[in-house]
Symmetry: D2
Subunit: 353 residues, 4 copies
C-alpha cells in the first residue's frame, strides 16, 4: 500500500536532511546483468549543479546497492539501495521552523501529522525522486532492448516547442542544458530561465515523454490501465499539475470522425490520437504523454506568510533552489515511466496460459 508498482514494487524512504534516501525493489527477476553505468548516468542527469539553470547544490548522488545483486547479476531477491545525503545545510532552514511557506507542504504536513520536519520540507522534498531514478533505470533494463523512453522539455512558461515530438530529433535532448531538442526554442527557454532566476523568481513548464517500440498488450483492463498507472506515477512528482496522453486536452475538442485512428493493414494506425493506448492497453504505436509542472514555490524574493500560530511573517527564500525544475525532471519522468511500464510488462507475461 502506497508503494509504486503492482507486481514489481518500489518502497522508499528518505528526507532532505536525513542521512540518506533509499528504497527496496521487490520481485525483480533474477538473471539480469545490471548495467550500473546507466543507473549512474541517469542519476547524473537528475543531479543538482549540472548547469547554471539549476540549483548549485553539489551532491555526488551515488547509489549503493545493499542486496539482490551478486557478482553483478540480479538474484531475484529484494534489491535494497541507499543514496547518501551530503551537504545538508539544516541551518538554512532554521528560520523556517515556525513559518509556513506559501504553496509548500509545511501547513498540510503539520495538519496531517501534528509534527513537522521543518528542514527543507523533510519528506516532501523532491529529493525523493532520486530513489525513483535508481529504481526506474534498473527496471528499464528488464524491457526489450529497443524500448526507448525519451522525455524532453516541451515548454517553459509561454515558450512552446513548435513541432510535435514526431518531428523532432530526440537524440538532441541532452545537447543543451534545458533538454529541449528544438534548438532555437531551447535557446529562448534558456534565456527566459536565466532572466527569471536573476529576479529570484521561478517558472513552470511541460515535459513530453515518448515511449517507442513498446510491444502491444501492456496494461490491464479496468483498474490497471497503462494511462492510469502512468498518470498516477507522474502526478506523484512533486510539482506536477496535469497529465495528458495522446490527443489529451486537445482531443476533447475533436469529433469522433476526426479523432478515430484508422488502421493500416499491418495493424498500425494512420494517425495516433490514441497515444499508443486503447482500452488501457498498448497497441504497438508510440506511447506519448505530457506532464505539466508548476513553478517552484521557493522564490528568492520577499513574501508575506504566516507562522504556526497564524501570525504574519515575512519570508525570503535562502539557499540554493531551482529557478526551473524542468531540465532535471526530464530523467525523473523517463525513469519513472520505465518503472511503470516494466511492472506492467512483467505482469503481461502471465496474462495468458
Amino acid at each position: 500500500m502506497f508503494s509504486l508498482g503492482n507486481f514489481l514494487t518500489l518502497s522508499t524512504f528518505g528526507e532532505s536532511h536525513g542521512p540518506a534516501y533509499g528504497g527496496i525493489i521487490t520481485n525483480f527477476p533474477a538473471g539480469l546483468e545490471v548495467n550500473f553505468q546507466d543507473v549512474q548516468h541517469q542519476l547524473d542527469r537528475r543531479k543538482p549543479g549540472q548547469s547554471a539553470l539549476v540549483t548549485q547544490r553539489k551532491e555526488s548522488d551515488t547509489v549503493q546497492f545493499l542486496s539482490g545483486i551478486f557478482n553483478g547479476i540480479t538474484t531475484g531477491t529484494p534489491i535494497g539501495f541507499t543514496v547518501e545525503n551530503e551537504n545538508q545545510k539544516s541551518k538554512d532552514y532554521e528560520h523556517l521552523a515556525e513559518a509556513y511557506r506559501p504553496s509548500h507542504a509545511d501547513f498540510t504536513y503539520d495538519q496531517k501529522f501534528g509534527i513537522r520536519d521543518y528542514r527543507g520540507g523533510g519528506k516532501s522534498s523532491a529529493r525523493e525522486t532520486v530513489n525513483w531514478v535508481v529504481a526506474g533505470s534498473l527496471a528499464k533494463q528488464l524491457l526489450p532492448g529497443n524500448v526507448e523512453f525519451r522525455a524532453y522539455v516541451s515548454s517553459v512558461g509561454e515558450i512552446f516547442c513548435k513541432e510535435p515530438y514526431s518531428e523532432l530529433d530526440l537524440d538532441l535532448i541532452d545537447s543543451n542544458e534545458v533538454r529541449c531538442p528544438e534548438q532555437e526554442t531551447a535557446t529562448r527557454m534558456i534565456r527566459k530561465i536565466k532572466e527569471i532566476k536573476k529576479e529570484g523568481n521561478t517558472i513552470g513548464g511541460t515535459i513530453t515523454c515518448v515511449i517507442r517500440n513498446l510491444p502491444a498488450g501492456i496494461g490491464e483492463p479496468v483498474f490497471g490501465k497503462l494511462q492510469g498507472e502512468l498518470a498516477k506515477a507522474m502526478m506523484n512528482i512533486n510539482a506536477a499539475k496535469g497529465f495528458e496522453y495522446g490527443s489529451g486536452f486537445a482531443g476533447a475538442r475533436m469529433t469522433g470522425r476526426e479523432h478515430n485512428d484508422l488502421f493500416n493493414e499491418d495493424f498500425s494506425t494512420q494517425t495516433n490520437y490514441s497515444g499508443g493506448i486503447q482500452g488501457g492497453i498498448s497497441n504497438g504505436m508510440d506511447v506519448y504523454f505530457t506532464v505539466a509542472f508548476k513553478p517552484v514555490a521557493t522564490i528568492l524574493q520577499k513574501q508575506d506568510s504566516i507562522n504556526m500560530v497564524g501570525n504574519r511573517v515575512i519570508l525570503e527564500g535562502k539557499g540554493r533552489h531551482d529557478a526551473c525544475v524542468l531540465p532535471r525532471a526530464v530523467p525523473i519522468v523517463e525513469n519513472l515511466a520505465a518503472f511503470v511500464v516494466a511492472d506492467l510488462f512483467l505482469v503481461n507475461k502471465i496474462r495468458r496460459i
Copy 2:
C-alpha cells in the same frame, strides 16, 4: 492488485453482454445507515436513455446488495452487489466478430489475451462504470455530511464555460440535460451535440469537479498523494485523455511569484492555484480538477477498418450510442472521486497516534 482504493477497496466484474455487473467493497466500516435513495439517484443520473442527447438504450440499472448490510446498516463485512444487464442485443455486434473497430479496444484485447469477447467491447465497455457509481455513492456516505462533490460539463468541443467554477451556481448542474450550470453555454452545447448526433458523429469535452469542505490532511506522502489517486481513478474512465488539478496546464505558464498561494491568517489562502492540495495532502480549500474526454469512437458513419487477418472492411456503427458521453460521465466523475477521497479519509484517521 488492480482494484480501486488502498484500504477501502473495490473489485469489480462484468461485461456489456454478460448477465450482470457487480463488485465487492472490502473494509467498509460497520454502523453506517445506508441511504439507498442516494445510491439509486446516482445510478439514475448515469443511466442511458435520460435525454435526447445520450444513448436511448433502456436499462433500469437497479443495484442488488447481496451482503454486508443488515437491516439497512453496514456490518463491516464485505459488501457484494450486482447490477443486472437487460436489453443486451448481442446480435448488434455479430457483424463485428471479426472486425477491429478504430480507436476501440478490440485489437489490443486480442493482442493481449489472444481471445476477444466481441459483444460490444466486452470488458472494455463503459458500462463498468455502473459499478463505480454504486461503490462511490456508498463511500461518499462515510464522509462528513458537508463534503460535497460537484462535477459539471465545462466544455463540449470548442464550446467552453466562460467562468471558472467559483463563479458558477453549481446547484444548476442538473437543471439541463447537458449538465452545465452556465445556462447560456449549456444551450449552445446542447445544440452542438444534437447537430453532431444528426451527422452520426460524436464529440469530446471536459468535466470539472469540485470537492468542497474537505478537511485538511487527506492524502498520503510520496506514493499516495491525493492528486495521484484522483488522476489514476479518472484516467481509468473509458474515454479520459487528460487530468489536471488546481492551476493545471495553465499553471505551467506561470511564475512562482504569480502562482504561490499566500496565506490568510486563518490558514486559508488568498488564491487557490494549488487546487486545495499541497504536498499531496488537502489543505482545507476547495479541491478541483478537470478531466478531458475524447469523442466516443463509435460513430454512425461508414469507416474503413481491417479485420483480424488484416483485410480491409467497411464498418458502419449500429445500435444505440452516445453522441457525447459527457452528461452521463458527470455522476461517474463525482462518485469515483468520492470513493478515492473516502479511502484516503479512512486511512487518515490512523496516521497519528
Copy 3:
C-alpha cells in the same frame, strides 16, 4: 488487502442467510478452457447432506459465472461468480438474536463491529468456503495436469490413521463417507461420529493433504514462503486450530542428523522431513501438511451461556449441524491449497528474465 492470493486474487462476499455467496477472481490468465464439471464436482463434495455423517441441510450449490469466461474459455478479465443460498431458515436463529453462543463468533463480531447479523453466524459462517471451492477448483486448472491435491481425514478424535500418507492408496479417499483411505480406520471413525451425533455432541480431527508432482521453484523468499501462504489459507478455515508441514511438530523433537534430507543423485531426497519445501520454495518432492480442526461449537445439548447484557441464558442448538466437519472439509483443504499454489505458480513464471 484481506483477500486471498498475491497476484491471482480472490475477493469474496456472502452471509449464511443472505441471498447469495460469491466472489471475484482477478488476474486469471486468458485462454483456459474451463472444466465446469470439475468445479461442480468439487462443490458437490463440499455440499451438505451428502451422508448421514454431516448436516442434512439441502443446498444445490451450483455456481453461476457472471463474467470472465466467453464460450467456455477464460478471457483474462475478472471472473465474477455467485452461489445462491437456498433453504435459509432464519427462524432457526431468532431465539439467538440476543444470546452469545459459546466458542462462536457472536461475541467478537459484536465487540468489533457494534452490530451483529445473528442469523446463523452471518459472515462468520463456514458457508463462505463455498467460494473458496469455486475459486480453487478453477485455479487448479492453471497448473500442469499432473499436479495433484489429495486431502483426507487422518484422524477423528482419538482415532488416527496408522500409516503415513505415503503408505496409503489415496484413490480410496472418496470411497467412504468419512473420506479416510485407510478402510478399517474409516469404519471406526464413522462409528465414532455416529455415536457422537446421537449424543448431540461434535468431534474434531485432522486432515492431511498431499500435493504431488509440484515442480521445484514454487514459493517466494522471506514473506511469500509456500508454507506461510498455505498456513495462512488453512488457518482461515473456520474451525482450524493448527497447521504443520513435513515433519511438523514431530520434527521439533528430532536432531539435525536425523532430520536432514540427504540428496539422491537425481536431486530427489532420501527422506522428506522437509515436506517438499526448503527455504520457502518447493523442491520437487511431495508437499504435505496437516490441519487440525476443533470440534464444531454448535452442539445439540443444553449449554449455559449469556446474552448481550450479560444475563444467564440456556441454549440448546437447533437446526441441522455437522457432528464432524472433517469429511466436508476435505475438498475445502484441497481446493484452497490449489488456489495458493496456482497463485505462486503464476508468480514463479516471471521470477527470472
Copy 4:
C-alpha cells in the same frame, strides 16, 4: 506484495554476506516518542554470542534509523533503517559454492532463480529476522502499554515444560540462557543442548507465545483472521514447521461439549481452548500459540551430499552455528507477533464509523 502486514507494512532486504540488512516500515503513525532502548534490547536478545548455547559469531547488531523519526518522534512518513553486517566470513562458505547442503535452501534457490548467492545461504539466512525484531519492537510501541508479548522455549527435543503457560512465572523467561521459565526443565534443556553441541549435532523444539491484555476486536473476518496472520508470520521464520493456537492439535481430539468455552457474566470465558480468538477476532482473553522449529540443518558432522551437477560430495559444516535456535528465536517470535497485532490493531480503529 510479499511484504509483512496489511496496512502497517514492512519491506525488507539483506543477505548474510552483503553489507547490511534493512527495511522500510510504511504507514507508521506520527507522534510516537520512540523507545530506542527497547528496540536495542530486543536486538540484543536475538544477537548471536549471548551464551554458550548459541553461535559465537559476534555482531553488534545496532540499528540505524534513516528516516521517519525526527527529534525522537515518529513523523508519519516511511521509517527506513539498516543493520550493518559485520564479521562476514564469506571464505567459510567458498567450499560450498558448488555443493547443495541437505535441508538448506541451496537447491531450491538455484532451481527457482538459476543463480545462487552461496555465501551462507544469502537471502535465505535467518539473519533476515534482525529486520523483523527492529520493526516488531517499534510496532509494539503503538499498542496500549499493558499489552504484553511473552514467548518462551516450551520444549527442546523430547524435553517439555510440565506446566501450561498459565501456571508459569513468565517473568523468569530471561533468567536462564535457554529462555524457559520452568527452572528445572530449563536446566535439563541446557544440558541437552550442550551435549548435542558437543556432538556437532543440532536439536529442534517449540516456542510458546502468550499475548496478554489484548483488547477484543482485533482481527478481520474471512481473509484477515488473527490466527491466519499470526500463522503466516510464524511459518515464515526460517526453521518453523508448525503452528497451533489455543487448544491446537490437542483440540482436534476433543468433543464440542469439552471444548466449548462457556462464558462468565463479565464476558470472559471459564476455559480458553479458543486461545483468545473466535471467528478470527480477539475476545479479550489471552491469545496463545505454539510454533514448532526443526533442528538447524547445518551440523558439524560429515554428511553425504551432491553438488550442482549431481556428483557426490562430502560436506562438513564449518563456521559458527547454533546447536539450537530456540533461545534466540524467542525475541523473534515475540516481536513478529507484535508487528502482526499492531497492524490489525490500527486497522481495527477504522472498522466502525
